[in-house]
């Protein structure tokens, strides 16, 4: 369990929130909900509508597509934003490989949150650019 003050301290070091001042970080801590997932629990489900945006506070998760593990995620990583931005169901399962603690934002709140916090949107765009470059390298 973490109080919102402790969550502010935790996320202040995350690249995604690196440009926010303390009052804005407090708003993040109050806007997102904290959720804990047990080892082996599915956090996002491939093909199921209505999912949410997650930022990992603690623990690890696997990205699993059709039963095959494709990648792992850890502290400070985030997931779920692509399906929300595109309005489509996730194309992968996200499964907690150890107990996983996340900040969670409902899909319909992601757009207003990003518009209210342009620095976070920019950081998210950077992360997507890195992923895109990585994917292009794999293909080439």
């Amino acid at each position: 369990m973490a109080s919102s003050d402790e969550i502010v301290d935790e996320i202040a070091g995350f690249a995604l929130f690196a440009d926010l001042a303390t009052p804005q970080l407090e708003r993040v801590a109050h806007t997102f909900e904290e959720q804990v997932y047990a080892e082996g629990e599915r956090v996002l489900r491939q093909g199921l509508s209505g999912s949410a945006f997650h930022v990992i506070l603690d623990g690890d998760a696997a990205v699993v597509i059709d039963g095959d593990e494709r990648a792992t995620l850890g502290r400070g990583d985030f997931f779920g934003e692509v399906s929300i931005l595109l309005g489509q169901a996730p194309v992968a399962d996200i499964v907690a490989t150890h107990q996983l603690r996340c900040l969670v934002l409902a899909g319909n709140l992601v757009q207003p949150f990003l518009l209210d916090n342009p620095p976070v949107m920019y950081r998210m765009l950077q992360a997507q650019a890195r992923r895109l470059r990585q994917a292009n390298r794999w293909r080439s």
């Binding site: 369990m1 109080s3 919102s4 003050d5 001042a21 303390t22 009052p23 804005q24 407090e26 708003r27 801590a29 109050h30 806007t31 909900e33 904290e34 959720q35 804990v36 997932y37 047990a38 629990e41 599915r42 489900r45 093909g47 199921l48 509508s49 209505g50 999912s51 949410a52 169901a89 107990q99 603690r101 969670v104 934002l105 409902a106 899909g107 319909n108 709140l109």
Partner: protein, 509 residues
């Protein structure tokens, strides 16, 4: 009131121990008795009712019961309109709440709700050991092998392999803000008239903060409500997320400049002023200069926590502002098996929260259904009860009827949207079987009481647009298909169009 010597459940060993005598503990105890599972109910309180013996502060509930509804009280769908009665199988013990209301409001008063709960307990014969406070918990080897819990109480030690905690989310929670000790928590709010002509600063913009602001409108000189994130209103979220319509009056006062201020700001510190009163420093979250408020009262409407005593020390992981325990979809501690959570604590199992909408597990009209599913699970897996294992056959030619009926009148689907599902299994040799109610998260992961074979789950869902519509999940050969039906503003899901689509789904099985 019974004499102390007449109190039931002396310290000792029991098959199950239930802690709590609010609506959660009562519903769990009732369901356990229906399966013939012996259990002791322990409660620190002097009478049944839980938090409704004290709150809401202004003595009227947020959850309605409509004495006059589109269906009669004995119709299965009446529970959709009655959020406050507990569930019973006997007709005479159903829909108790509407019979106790005085006609002033369709939100029962707190005393009416307390009477509703006391009436349920006495009519259904629920025995409770009152005045027995849970103080600690241990795990020790059991006489017959395995482990059991030792529940330490003010009356002595109780032993059981299964403990169900329905102790509410009732412990005042306060943030770490410097000077917060100068504020009064919501739980310590004084009678409204003592705030006459006072400048009141309320920390928190959820229902409890707005309830106080609403009740103090005619008393306080000024009211300021502040917290870092903007207030959500249920009429905007089109769900029960946010401040309920009953408490929105302060918003109107704010936007019309009547003396109420609603602020998105982090509270920097609270200090005492020379000559009396307090000063509150707030930092707007949208940026800008610090703001200083000189006020006479500071109230922390900052919520409540689960009073889990020493369970974290036993290995129970907690999360969130309310320190809820991390649990499985069947409300069992994810880290300490045998420990279950009922009542408003059942919100700890968040389910899929599709489209960001939580179920109503935190309220009576959600938790009452969770309790039935939880107890059936325990009866089946821990007590081998035949009644819990029943899976009545559904004739293949009435499957469409079965699904359409669930959509139209199953109240647990209506109140626990995208959270509880009615499931029919489609095993080729056994034929269609009614699997009863299953948590949707367990169904989609193949971990529910229906197993992981071919099956169909029927739910009602919402997406924040204001619509309530059926979704059917078809599991075939381990693959899951999600089929969403078009919303109907009158919730008519027993139409030829819906039936034709259901028939296609069944035919494909």
């Amino acid at each position: 009131m019974a004499e102390l010597t007449d109190r039931p459940f002396p310290p000792g060993s029991y098959p199950v121990i239930v802690v709590g005598s609010g609506p959660g503990g009562l519903q769990v105890s009732y369901s356990l008795s229906r399966y013939g599972i012996g259990h002791a109910v322990l409660s620190a309180d002097e009478a049944p009712g839980g938090m409704f013996r004290r709150w809401p502060f202004f003595q009227r509930l947020l959850s309605w019961t409509k004495p006059y509804a589109p269906v009669p009280h004995d119709h299965p769908a009446y529970q959709r309109y009655d959020w406050n009665s507990l569930l019973a199988d006997e007709p005479e013990n159903q829909a108790i709440m509407p019979g106790l209301m005085d006609g002033n409001s369709y939100f029962p008063s707190r005393p009416e709700m307390q009477q509703n709960l006391e009436t349920f307990a006495s009519r259904t014969g629920i025995a409770i050991r009152h005045g027995c406070r849970w103080t600690g918990t241990r795990r020790e080897p059991a006489a017959g092998g395995g482990e059991e819990f030792v529940v330490e109480t003010s009356d002595g030690e109780y032993r059981a392999p299964i403990v169900i905690l329905a102790v509410g989310v009732a412990e005042p929670a306060v943030p770490d803000t410097p000077g917060i000790e100068l504020a009064t928590h919501y739980a310590g709010t004084r009678p409204a008239e003592t705030y006459a002509d006072r400048r009141v600063f309320i920390i928190g913009k959820q229902n409890s903060g707005f309830e106080l602001a609403s009740g103090l409108l005619q008393w306080a000189r000024t009211i300021t409500l502040a917290s870092p994130s903007p207030a959500k209103l249920s009429v905007n979220t089109k769900s029960l997320v946010g401040v309920r319509a009953r408490y929105v009056q302060p918003v109107e006062d704010h936007v019309l400049g009547g003396g109420v201020t609603i602020l998105d700001a982090a509270i920097g510190r609270i200090g005492r002023r020379e000559g009396g009163g307090f000063e509150v420093v707030a930092r707007p979250t949208a940026g800008g200069d610090e703001m200083l408020f000189e006020v006479d009262e500071v109230i922390a409407a900052t919520g409540f926590r689960a009073p889990l005593v020493d369970l974290p020390g036993l290995g129970v992981t907690t999360f969130g502002q309310s320190r809820l325990p991390a649990v499985t979809p069947y409300w069992e501690s994810a880290s300490v098996p045998g420990l279950f959570f009922g009542g408003t604590l059942s919100q700890a199992a968040g389910g899929l929260k599709k489209h960001g909408l939580p179920a109503n597990s935190g309220a009576v009209h959600g938790a009452r259904y969770n309790a039935r599913v939880l107890v059936r699970r325990i009866a089946e897996t821990r007590f081998d009860r035949a009644q819990a294992k029943e899976r009545p056959a559904v004739a293949a030619d009435s499957l469409v009827d079965w699904m359409a009926t669930a959509m139209m009148s199953a109240s647990e689907l209506f109140h626990q949207r995208a959270y509880l599902a009615r499931v029919v299994s489609l095993d080729a040799s056994a034929g269609p079987r009614d699997e009863g109610v299953v948590p949707l998260a367990a169904f989609v992961d193949g971990t529910g009481s229906d197993g992981d074979g071919d099956a169909i789950a029927v739910t009602l869902e919402a997406d924040g647009s204001g619509a309530i519509y059926p979704v059917v999940y078809a599991r075939r050969g381990g693959r899951l298909e999600e089929v969403t039906f078009d919303p109907d503003p009158l919730l008519r899901y027993d139409t030829p169009v819906v039936r034709a689509r259901l028939a296609d789904l069944v035919g494909a099985s």
